[in-house]
Symmetry: C2
Subunit: 366 residues, 2 copies
């Protein structure tokens, strides 16, 4: 068993972890970053960056369809080559990931600890079965992962999440998107515009990052001019039948409808990766979801030397900011942590900025 | 002769004049704005706003041409309906102008003086032959107008400036653009993409707002992949022949070329409207162009109660900012007058930001 004494240990090598590692390195050389999965960040690999690439292809179709309004008349049909679409998405995605990996490569080998970390106590981390780390300060930047109802696991490979979409070699014929949140709308609208038959279902009426009832309704009505969306759907049956997913639901008029689709895309939220890192061995105060309480300005937890960063504490901000910097023409600047931008890149370029954004998943200690 | 005593008189009812009028009205009710031409602002009527509309149509063509890179293959040709293109440009232009006119309509009638103003002395303005104004403070916001070599006047209606382009009912077949500055490149590239045969000539090598030699060369080379541009051209003959403009020039390889085009578009700079406002009757210190020296931060001239605003003093800033706010997705914020944005909306979305932008046409007093 290797034993390390460090000033700062960062759990997670994603966008937040890399940021925390680099910030700490400016203050002390004695920092380690612990990562159990592949480097490259959720954002660049399967998140906000490749979704913008899919949207770019969808936008190419949409622009052609809108051209007559400018006096420009394409003659003939638009042929969408799904393999070429996905090939470009993955090629550019790999390029983006490459930039991240270049940065990771520059980090000294001894600072990168491979494996999954677990707290032994407030100052001690166990990584796999090979390393024990005594850390004066610890940053939890363990990220999040998609979550979906367990019953859907019976759909097997017909159940997909955003990660899977970016591994497709071709576009499918039809997809039912569950969850008209940011991810669901971005991917769902893009797939629709790329010729995929999209049907979208939600629970409770939420649409994108919108909180205002009237604006939600307007958004839902506008999206419905493109594809079927019921943000408060009544779905009666979801089951696998052969290589398709069979769905029976009551439509917005109360009529029972039945559809068979190639895939069910679960965009039903993300779950913070705090359930397998031994928080029970610490004296951290946790909320009902098991996430450490943290000051929203300093990210400091109830244990003064432990901090949180990124998705465990903020579902959205870390998710969009790097993408916006790299992929989009608009660079949103977060001038103060008091104001949080939340955006989705779809029909409206939705953007909300609030003092107490609902994307702050955390109660506030102070 | 009507006699008025006012706290502030603003010469010009364009973007800068309206801004100055409104700012002054917040401090005193006794303000007048003097305008001799049509209301609606250069920006909205014939400047940055309609040019973006023409660019939007050009972009629609360009997006279709680029779609195959995304795996999207439009079948058949693109038909560009010049009448529809120009109809939309003018329709939307009128809508933009309408917003400005709504604002002008809200200004009390007695504050709007119709006619051209001339200084009688440092505190007195004569408007037409009907009104004499004694003003404690005066703002010169008289704008600018296109300028071109007098010899070109022999081309008659075959000589056009940006104003004329936005009155076209249809697109011409061919245009020679003189002046690859911001206006020339924006309009020239847009017309090219809309199927107009464009040939572009400059003097001295300037390209867009660029000042760096290497970047200029790169820009010129990139634009040349679309249409012929010689930024330091040797033009031997320009003359009207029938309904066309005949041009003989040496191309970049030294070969003599002859072309006939429908129009010569003069984008050869703008001239401040300070030559007919009686500055010679004031004690203002003028530069060699006849423009009052002014402090670049306060816009105050050498006569403490006289100020300049907008194009007489800044060729570019006032020209682009309102357009960017209204037309473009990116809202550039000028946080400090020390930093001036200069941009052109074409191939590169050129943007330069410098402490001493060359768009400051003015020497600095302080």
């Amino acid at each position: 068993m290797k034993e390390l004494q460090v000033d700062v240990a960062v759990i997670g090598g994603g966008t937040a972890g890399l940021g925390a590692y680099r910030a700490a390195k400016r203050l002390t050389p004695n920092v380690v970053m612990i990562e159990g999965g592949p480097y490259g960040t959720t954002c660049a690999r399967v998140g906000c960056m490749p979704s913008k690439l899919l949207i770019a292809a969808a936008e190419a179709v949409h622009q052609i369809e809108r051209a007559p309004g400018f006096g420009i008349h394409p003659q003939g049909d638009i042929k969408i080559n799904g393999r070429e679409v996905m090939d470009r998405v993955k090629r550019e995605r790999d390029r983006f990931v490459g930039f991240v990996l270049e940065g990771v490569d520059e980090i000294p080998q001894q600072d990168k600890i491979e494996g999954y970390a677990r707290f032994i106590d407030d100052n001690t981390l166990q990584v796999g079965d090979h390393t024990r780390i005594q850390a004066k300060r610890i940053v939890i930047a363990s990220g999040s992962r998609p979550a979906w109802p367990a019953a859907w696991n019976s759909l097997g490979d017909r159940l997909v999440i955003n990660d899977d979409v970016f591994d497709w070699d071709d576009l499918p014929s039809s997809v039912a998107v569950f969850g008209p949140g940011v991810i669901g709308i971005e991917l769902g609208q893009a797939l629709h515009r790329l010729g995929v038959k999209v049907t979208m279902f939600g629970v409770g009426g939420g649409v994108g990052p919108l909180t205002d009832g009237a604006i939600r309704q307007y958004a839902a009505a506008t999206l419905n001019t493109e594809f079927y969306l019921d943000a408060d759907a009544s779905v009666e049956l979801i089951e696998r039948r052969g290589d398709t997913v069979f769905i029976r639901y009551q439509d917005r008029d109360g009529q029972v409808q039945e559809i068979s689709v190639d895939y069910l895309l679960a965009a039903t939220g993300r779950r913070p990766n705090v359930d397998n890192i031994g928080l029970e061995n610490t004296s951290l105060k946790l909320d009902e979801r098991g996430v450490p309480f943290a000051d929203r300005l300093t990210m400091q937890t109830s244990v003064a030397h432990i901090f949180v960063a990124g998705m465990p504490v903020i579902s959205f901000r870390c998710y969009t900011k790097p993408a916006i910097k790299r992929v989009l023409p608009v660079k949103m600047r977060v001038r103060s942590r008091k104001y949080l931008p939340a955006c989705a890149v779809a029909q409206f370029q939705w953007f909300s900025q609030t003092r107490k954004s609902r994307w702050w998943a955390q109660p506030i200690v102070n």
